[in-house]
Amino acid sequence: MRIMVNGEPREARGGWTLLELLRAMGVEKDRIAVELNGRVVRARELDAVALKERDRVEIVRFVGGG
């Protein structure tokens, strides 16, 4: 199943939750934030939300900035 993660196309297993996606990508789930199709997904809901074809996912963290 084709989705976009941080602007790049990616393959994801159908029915995967966001949490499973993070695991598959080896992303620690703390101190990050996830947006699905423009809406923030709370941390505790990451394992409740299933991915669909063409979903747009943004995964962000803090970096140095002024």
Partner: protein, 259 residues
């Protein structure tokens, strides 16, 4: 009179200096500079994680988040909508309501889009954010930001990263006289210690800076300079300066000269 403490939205921070975390030569220099600055709040940006590689040591490892509060910004956002989206992500990542709100209106000067800024402020305040908007020295806008529920106003005194220092003492002074009930934190334009002292002497409640420290030849030393300058400026503001005079007044007594 609490010289050192800055209170934002009911919470008190033990320093009037807020520092950015960008552009340091190394994480180690960043860590030591932040420590020397004595800052109790540091800004961070919100960016996509790098899917390519394992993230090595991260900035957050360089910050003692027990002692120092994180102030995420919406740097680079050009619309209220982007800024609001970024703010929501920041809250989720940082588990805090604090947001330094930037809506950029011009790429060359990074001057704020005050119209978009007001719009985003209204939205985020409704959602419970503690909004610290980066704006210019327009007191009419500052008043509206305050009325919209901003927790502070953060006027620039010169373009971000320019290091030019206070360019317009008149507008800043008028703004400071107008905004009395929430902190006025000078954000952007400070290049060297005296720049920070000057705005504190005028009555600013705090100063936020990044490039002035991170870009110095010796960021750790400059961080200490800025810490002392902010405190010196605040003390001088409280101490009440002598009036400026065109003519001299002797500091030694006139009487008792030998003849």
């Amino acid at each position: 009179m609490n010289t050192a403490a800055l209170t934002i939205a009911g919470r008190t921070y033990p320093s009037r200096l807020i520092v950015g975390t960008g552009k340091y030569p190394s994480l180690d220099v960043a860590r030591r500079a932040i420590e020397e600055s004595g800052a109790a709040m540091v800004t961070v940006a919100v960016r996509r994680i790098d899917l390519g590689r394992r993230s090595g040591e991260s900035l957050l490892d360089a910050i003692d988040t027990k002692r120092v509060a994180l102030l995420p910004n919406t740097a680079g956002c050009r619309t209220a909508e982007d800024a609001v989206r970024t703010a929501r992500l920041a809250r989720e990542a940082g588990l805090s309501e604090l947001i330094k709100l930037e809506v950029i209106g011009d790429d060359r000067t990074l001057f704020p889009d005050n119209e978009g800024l007001l719009e985003a402020t209204r939205v985020l305040v409704k959602e419970g954010f503690v909004v610290l908007p980066y704006t210019n020295d327009d007191l009419v806008v500052a008043r509206r930001l305050r009325d919209a529920g901003a927790a502070a106003v953060m006027p620039l005194v010169a373009p971000i990263g320019s290091g030019l220092g206070l360019q317009n003492p008149v507008t800043l002074r008028l703004l400071l006289e107008e905004i009395r009930d929430i902190p006025v934190i000078v954000d952007a334009g400070v290049g060297i210690a005296s720049d920070a002292a000057i705005v504190m002497e005028m009555g600013a409640d705090g100063v936020l800076m990044n490039t002035g420290i991170a870009g110095a030849s010796d960021p750790v030393r400059m961080a200490r300079a800025m810490r002392l300058a902010v405190e010196a400026g605040r003390l001088a503001h409280e101490a009440g300066r002598i009036p400026k005079r065109l003519f001299a007044t002797a500091s030694s007594p006139i009487d008792g000269m030998i003849r």
